[in-house]
Assembly symmetry: C2
Homo-oligomer: 421 residues x 2
């Protein structure tokens, strides 16, 4: 009876009046919240303060991390990230505080020399596959290097593999961005079948790479982390060891501003990347690498540490989901949202043509959400229906306030849209 | 009477026999020294251990350096490097642990978009001016990006400016590498006139830049640091504010492996660089930036800190110079060397055609020097006469041993050369 999709024009007008009243009340509260990025909250950062107390500077083998050297990272850091990524430490490079930086350099290297095969920038305008919604900063990197961004719809079990298999027949297609575990922004995990189909790809471009950003690999919100199939193992099984380049970082394990990143790749690709990185730096910050090894120890210890993160942020995810369900009940099918078991985001899908208006309504009332469209190539959501929600940074009460406002904004924008149609 | 250049063949043969005996004795000592790079010694690194004790994470203004943000660096770090570089902090970006990395990215940016003007990579094969002998890693960066490296002879007062002024008339010439203070490897400081002539350049290429790597700006070995003329001020005076890009780092102030780097540029160039860096990273390690600000405080404090470095390394420079003078006395004009007032190196110039042989002789006897030719574009010293000496890392006694061996090697190679001519 309250289904907006079945309401008469008069009923919608009345509902709009009611919602404008509610929205006006929200505005008066003078909220001032930024939920635009997936940032850990201060309590999460406090978890790792013991890291800063570490003053050790000698590696296990006695090397002095204070001085130059170790372009690929100190051995114990390579071992730790090797365990985390499930690859041989000899194929792991440990970098500075930004895995995005490693990805940027890898794309730069691909463009320049194609990892020893055909340079990505050779020939016609190159294309890169962008499962969407996805991570805006990934898309931005490939846009920066002049790629045509090709959208691949993201599904609950990963990118649309039928389409991917079709697209890689085009030699202009040089790679695909993947966030396989608790994807940004949907929180989906790639199914084993998706991973196997990716590993089995036979792309026309000889230097095609799967850029496997396992940014949230241990960032679970349920009893145990999801075990996404190991892409390197799956690729090896097909003789495609040189296909993937894996990335991860401790940005949301320890500190976003001062963590440690890593990448891994097949032997030939790894050698090509190291050769390409050589002119770029004498080496990354090894004291910080050592701090992280001594603090995080191993994967088991990291998972225990991530349970503490979960204890802080799960209530925020739960509150947001509960209030979305409450606030959008009994108004028909005007929105749905994802139910992530980990990661940093919830995706909200509205009626087509409403996302921008909702983000704008929230902003006017003091709550900054991620810009509508940000999760799509070129920042354009063709349906204008997706909103990325980032509940980790604000306090629980603020998440609740913001979600209440959001529900009113979703309802109001939906009614406006239905009246305009 | 012992002047090699005036010796008869028989005298040279006899001298060679004598030197082979001495060289054989040196070899038996079983030395094992690496003097190939300009690395601080452990005692120098120990000077900054209090830096690692700092656990503060809030900026003066209360921002949380542990989290994301501040692409250009935290305000107090920009202020500190602004003071050090003598520029407005608003034109300073503070980076990660590697100024070479900032230079690499700046060259990449120049190639891609020319800082808002003509991209360096547009048109015919671009050229870059390389004052030589110079820093091999500089040359390597521009070689990596496909530049033709054009040698400009380095003189005691800086690069040969007559030649520079001529070369910049070629629009293919996109920039020049400069180490203005205690240059690598000669230890020369640019004269005021050189700086003024550089600032006054009117290059044909609209995106021409002076890459001003002030790597050793406070690294003095005498009573006070040399005051190289401020390039930004000199450029401003000519209305050429957008010409220079300045770099420095704390690699040899605190820790090579975990320091902080910075760059500065005119407003338009600075904005273009920041825009270009945006896709590359979310931000650099700000906790380490804050550590450095709290530890280093200001320029006066840094100079006091550098006096402690001087106390450790000056005796090594002095010993090397003394033993070179002693070991190469009374044999005629077969070698000369620079007398740096700061920096990390001494340049040794031998008879033409001897440098490779000397480096090889030293290596066979257990002392690794920087590869002959390394200080020249493409690693090729046309005269094969330059050797870069790096006395900072080994212990004083080792510097002495190495220099004694070196003198024998210089003599032996010279005699061999004279016999072969």
């Amino acid at each position: 009876m309250n289904d907006y999709l079945k309401m008469s024009r008069a009923e919608l007008e009345a509902e709009k009046e009611r919602l404008l009243q509610l929205y006006g009340d929200e505005k008066k509260k003078g909220l001032k919240l930024d939920m635009s990025r997936g940032k850990p909250c201060p309590e999460q950062l406090d978890l790792s303060m013991d890291l800063l107390k570490i003053q050790e500077y000698r590696t296990e083998a006695g090397a002095d991390t204070r001085n130059y050297g170790f372009l690929e990272g100190i051995p114990e850091a390579r071992r730790l990230f090797g365990e985390l990524l499930g690859v041989d430490p000899q194929q792991v490079l440990v970098g500075g505080n930004s895995s995005l930086n490693l990805m940027f350099e890898v794309v730069a290297a691909g463009c320049r020399d194609g990892f020893g095969k055909t340079p990505w920038s050779a020939g016609e305008k190159p294309r890169f596959l962008c499962p969407a919604p996805g991570y805006d900063r990934h898309f931005r990197v490939t846009e920066h290097f002049g790629f045509e961004l090709t959208t691949v719809p993201m599904r609950e079990d990963g990118p649309d593999m039928d389409l991917v298999e079709e697209l890689v027949k085009d030699p202009r297609v040089k790679g695909i961005w993947c966030v396989p575990t608790y994807s940004n922004p949907d929180g989906y995990c790639y199914s084993d079948e998706t991973v196997r189909r990716l590993a089995a790809l036979e792309p026309a471009a000889d230097s095609f790479k799967i850029l496997w950003d396992n940014a949230y690999l241990v960032h679970y919100l349920e009893d145990a982390p999801e075990d996404t199939l190991n892409i390197m193992d799956a690729c090896k099984a097909c003789g495609h060891e040189e296909l993937p380049i894996l990335f991860c970082s401790t940005s949301k394990i320890t500190f976003p501003g001062a963590g440690v990143s890593a990448l891994a790749a097949g032997p030939k690709t790894f050698a090509a990347i190291c050769e390409d990185l050589f002119p770029m730096t004498i080496g990354f910050d090894k004291i910080n690498q050592l701090r992280h090894v001594l603090y995080l120890k191993d994967k088991a210890h990291i998972l225990a540490h991530m349970a503490k993160h979960k204890a802080i942020i799960k209530p925020k995810f739960d509150a947001m989901r509960r209030l979305l369900a409450e606030g959008l009940a009994d108004c028909g099918d005007i929105a749905h949202w994802t139910n992530p078991k980990g990661g940093y985001f919830i995706s909200l899908y509205t009626l087509p043509g409403c996302a921008k208006r909702i983000v704008s309504l929230c902003k006017e009332a003091g709550v900054v959400l991620t810009g509508a469209g940000a999760a799509y190539p070129y920042g354009v959501d063709p349906q204008d229906w997706h909103i990325r929600l980032a509940p980790t940074y604000p306090a629980l009460e603020e998440v609740e306030q913001a979600t209440r406002l959001l529900c009113i904004a979703v309802r109001l924008a939906s009614v406006e849209k239905l009246l305009a149609d």
